[in-house]
Amino acid sequence: MRRALSIISLSVLMTGFLFAFTDVKVGAEDLTPDQSAQIKANCVSIKNSVSQLHASDALLRVNRGQTYEAVAGKLMDPFNSRLASNQLDNRAMTAVTSDYRTSLDAFRNDYIAYEQKLSATLRIDCTAKPNSFHASLVEARELRAKVHADVLRLHQLLDDYHSSVSDFLLNYERVSQ
C-alpha cells in the first residue's frame, strides 16, 4: 500500500515537473533576446496600449452585446411567437434563433476568457518577466481572435434569419394564392 502511494506521488511529481519545464520552454523559444530587450525597454508604452485596448474592448462588449441580445429578444423571439400563435410553421426561424442564442453564449464566454487573460497580462511586470508577459499576450491575442470569430458567426446568423423569413414569405405567398 505504502509502495503504491509512493509510486503515485512520484508520478504526480514527475508529471508536474514535466509540465512546468514544457511551459518554460514554450515561453522562452517564442521570444528572441532582442524582443525581450524591446519589451523591457518599451514596457510602459506597451502596457498603455494594451490598457487602452482593454477599455475600448470593454465598451465594445457592452454596446455590441446589448444590441445582439436585443435582436434576439425584441425581434426574433416575438416574430417566432407570433407565427406559433397563428399556427404557422416557424421551425426554420426557431432553429436559427436557437443557433443564434448558442453563438451569443459562446460570444459571452469567449469574451470573459479573453478579458480575464488580458487583465492577467496587464498584471505581469514586463520589465521583470518579459517572457511570461509575451506568452500571456499571445494567448490573449488568440482569445480575441476567437471573440471576433463569434461576432462573424452572429452576423452570419442574422443573415440566415433574414433568409429564413424571406423563404417563409415566399411559401406563404404561394400557399395563400
Binding site: D30, L31, T32, D34, Q35, Q38, I39, N42, S45, I46, S49, V50, L53, H54, A55, D57, A58, L59, L60, R61, V62, N63, G65, Q66, T67, Y68, E69, A70, V71, K74, L75, D77, P78, F79, S81, R82, L83, S85, N86, L88, N109, Y111, I112, E115, H134, L137, V138, R144, A145, V147, H148, V151, H155, L158, H162, V165, F168, L169, Y172, S176
Partner: protein
C-alpha cells in the same frame, strides 16, 4: 452565593461579533467570486480603468421591439422584414473585435522568432 459563569457566557458578545464578521467575510468572498465568474465584472464599466469609456456606453438599445401578438399576413411579414433589416444594419455596422491590435508588430516589439 456567586454564580459560576463559563468562558463562553463571559465572551458572548465577542463571539457574536466574530461570527458576524466571519459570515460577512464569507458572503463577501462568495459575491465577489460570483461577480468575477458570471461575467458581470466584464460589463461593469464603473471599474477603475474604464472611466474614460464609461460615458460612451449606450444607456438603451436602439432596437425597436416587434409585437408578438396579432395576425400574420403578407403585409405583416414584409413589415417585419423591413424593421428587421433596419435593425440588423445597426447590429452589423461595427465589425467588433476585428483587426489584430495585440500583434507584436503593432505593439512595436517585432515578430516572434517562431512565427
Amino acid at each position: 452565593m456567586e454564580e459560576k459563569i463559563s468562558f463562553w457566557d463571559r465572551h458572548r458578545l465577542s463571539l457574536l461579533l466574530v461570527i458576524t464578521v466571519g459570515i460577512a467575510t464569507v458572503l463577501t468572498c462568495v459575491s465577489v467570486a460570483i461577480y468575477n465568474m458570471s461575467g458581470a465584472a466584464q460589463l461593469d464599466l464603473s471599474r477603475p480603468g474604464y472611466l474614460s469609456v464609461s460615458s460612451q456606453a449606450e444607456k438603451t438599445d436602439s432596437i425597436n421591439g416587434y409585437s408578438s401578438t396579432g395576425s400574420v399576413n403578407k403585409q405583416t411579414i414584409q413589415s417585419f422584414l423591413k424593421q428587421y433589416d433596419e435593425q440588423i444594419q445597426k447590429a452589423k455596422s461595427v465589425d467588433a473585435f476585428s483587426g489584430d491590435p495585440l500583434n507584436p508588430d503593432v505593439l512595436e516589439f517585432g515578430t516572434p522568432a517562431s512565427e
